[in-house]
């Protein structure tokens, strides 16, 4: 597989005129679903922040696993069990290298939500007492909000929020008072799934550590789209999902610093996660297995390997450059439409490729239904961030989100469809 652009080749469906070096036409050919029709139109998939489409290599891997290697991991002596275990652990090594951690620091979960719950209820329960403080932000997805609300109620620790500015950034003007000496956990999104905002994680990590708190990163939207280095960011825990980065659904990743994971009590109990069990007591297995109770999503881990290979081959910096250019182009095109209000930062360098907007008259549901009949898949609703939407003064928004396979011509088709929807619903 060679998906880098050939500089001598004419690039007809090239994404951008910027510094990006991807041959998008060639990339698109790797994604079978992108050639299907939806409602009689070519599919324009603009919902990658919800889940990304999968390249052929990942789809093939699922079949390959069940056709050739299917066995339970870490339990068998036979050849299949050995092959399954090796492949399962190989992916763990790839994930570790991808975010610059050690492989013992990578725990497989069901999804990013389960990873965040594990942190809240393993680390949080053990370390919080009444009067302590948990700090999160006003732009969190429910996955990084509800567990902390529940933990706060359970432990008596108070929950404090870093507010947001009108232009969609974190408001750090009172950050020193918010992250105070009572703070034990600071948890925030790296990249907002609604506003697209990329948050200054290193700066907040430093403040958290100074206060004696650990910092948790919800990286579900960032790890798929830009190079993330857990050591450079200086974070303690991180959560993300395979299915938002070309991999299968049902597989999430919890990263934790080794010292922290070693001290941590597991959250779920059963097989696989134990070393020794008597009728009265148990000894936990080593890292990371003590957090992986029961038979895991082995096929998912198997198929996540080629997903990471695919990203590495393209290069995360190229993917990021492509998305910056596509986002810049989208923001410019949407700015031409006086009936569209865009949320979040206007500088594409400060944000990811999830662009949230509203038509001033047409409700997002109606708009999304209309766009769907044009083959355009966008997300409409509160994007699992109801409190943030209340701040934005609306109950729902429309979101177009990109990945390496999207093109400027798709953005043009979206723009035209938005104009057409005005005519259709009788506002022109």
């Amino acid at each position: 597989m060679s998906v880098k652009a050939d500089s001598k080749k004419e690039k007809t469906d090239r994404c951008c005129d910027g510094p990006c070096d991807l041959d998008v036409a060639k990339i698109r050919a790797d994604f079978p679903i992108l050639s299907r029709q939806v409602n009689g139109k070519r599919l324009i998939y603009l919902d990658s922040a919800a889940t990304t489409q999968k390249p052929e290599s990942v789809i093939r891997a699922i079949t390959e696993y069940y056709s050739l290697h299917n066995a339970n991991v870490h339990r068998g002596i036979h050849t299949l069990a050995d092959e399954a275990t090796t492949a399962y652990e190989n992916t763990r090594h790839k994930i570790a290298a991808f975010i610059n951690s050690d492989y013992e620091e990578i725990v497989y979960t069901r999804n990013a939500t389960e990873a965040l719950n594990t942190i809240a209820f393993s680390y949080g329960r053990a370390h919080l007492k009444p009067g302590d403080r948990i700090v999160i932000t006003q732009m969190e997805h429910h996955a990084n909000l509800v567990p902390w609300i529940m933990l706060s109620k359970e432990t008596g620790a108070e929950l404090a929020y870093i507010p947001i500015t009108d232009d969609g950034y974190l408001d750090l003007s009172h950050i020193g008072e918010i992250i105070n000496s009572k703070t034990k956990i600071v948890s925030l999104t790296h990249m907002s799934n609604v506003l697209g905002t990329i948050n200054p994680v290193e700066e907040i990590a430093e403040l958290a550590h100074k206060a004696g708190a650990v910092i948790v990163l919800d990286a579900a939207q960032s790890v798929p789209h830009l190079a993330v280095d857990v050591k450079a960011l200086n974070i303690d825990f991180m959560a993300f999902s395979a299915h938002k980065m070309l991999g299968p659904t049902g597989l999430g990743i919890l990263y934790g610093r080794r010292e922290l994971l070693n001290d941590l009590q597991p959250f779920e109990f059963g097989g696989e996660m134990i070393r020794k069990v008597t009728f009265d007591d148990v000894t936990w297995n080593d890292l990371p297995y003590k957090f992986e109770a029961g038979t895991p999503h082995i096929a998912g881990a198997y198929a996540f390997g080629p997903a990471i290979d695919y990203l590495n081959e393209l290069g995360m910096d190229n993917i990021r450059a492509h998305e910056i250019e596509l986002t810049r182009y989208t923001l410019n095109r949407l700015a031409e439409l006086d009936f569209i209000k865009v949320y979040g930062p206007t500088d594409p360098n400060h944000r990811g490729g999830a662009v949230t907007f509203n038509d001033v008259n047409i409700h997002p549901h109606d708009l999304a239904t209309f766009l769907d009949t044009q083959g355009i898949a966008v997300r409409a609703g509160h994007h699992c961030a109801q409190p943030l939407h209340r701040l934005l003064g609306t109950v729902a928004t429309t979101r177009a989100s990109f990945y390496m396979y999207n093109t400027k011509s798709e953005v043009d088709l979206l723009t035209e469809a938005l104009k057409e929807s005005r005519r259709y619903f009788g506002y022109v």
Partner: protein, 169 residues
Amino acid sequence: MSERLDQLYRDVIMEHYKFPRGSKDIENADMDNQGQNPACGDEIEVKVKLEGDRVKDVSVSCMGCAISVASGSMLAEVIEGKTLAEVKKIAKVVKALVKGEELPEDIDIHELGDIEVLQGVRKFPVRVKCALLSWTTLVDAIDSFEAGTTTELNISTTEEGHANHNHAH
């Protein structure tokens, strides 16, 4: 444009959306219930004032899409003057209509105002909840109103598994 879409967004729907009936708030309502569509965050409040067991006045306040607003507007238009039993029956008809299920034989759909056009929702299964939001909110309100007045009904309501959302705002 697709015929399927045209069936959903009939002129009648858009007219109700742009000029919803029952949008005037009423005071001293006998029933007041809020409903949410958890899938999208749409919010609705339905208030009913009774005269005897008949609906005297209705107010529907909806932050939602064309389908949910239009359906709420039709609700306000059609239930005025009806008994609570009749209202519940109409709600069942609407549910069957938008889901494409068989309608009860003893109901003449043409007597229910514009409600017939809601059947365009059938071809859009993800939008069925939008069309039913106002109706389920109203039926919940009636159920808890009735449950609050007689103990026997309260028991039967619980057995039917109806949720009481009155205090869940």
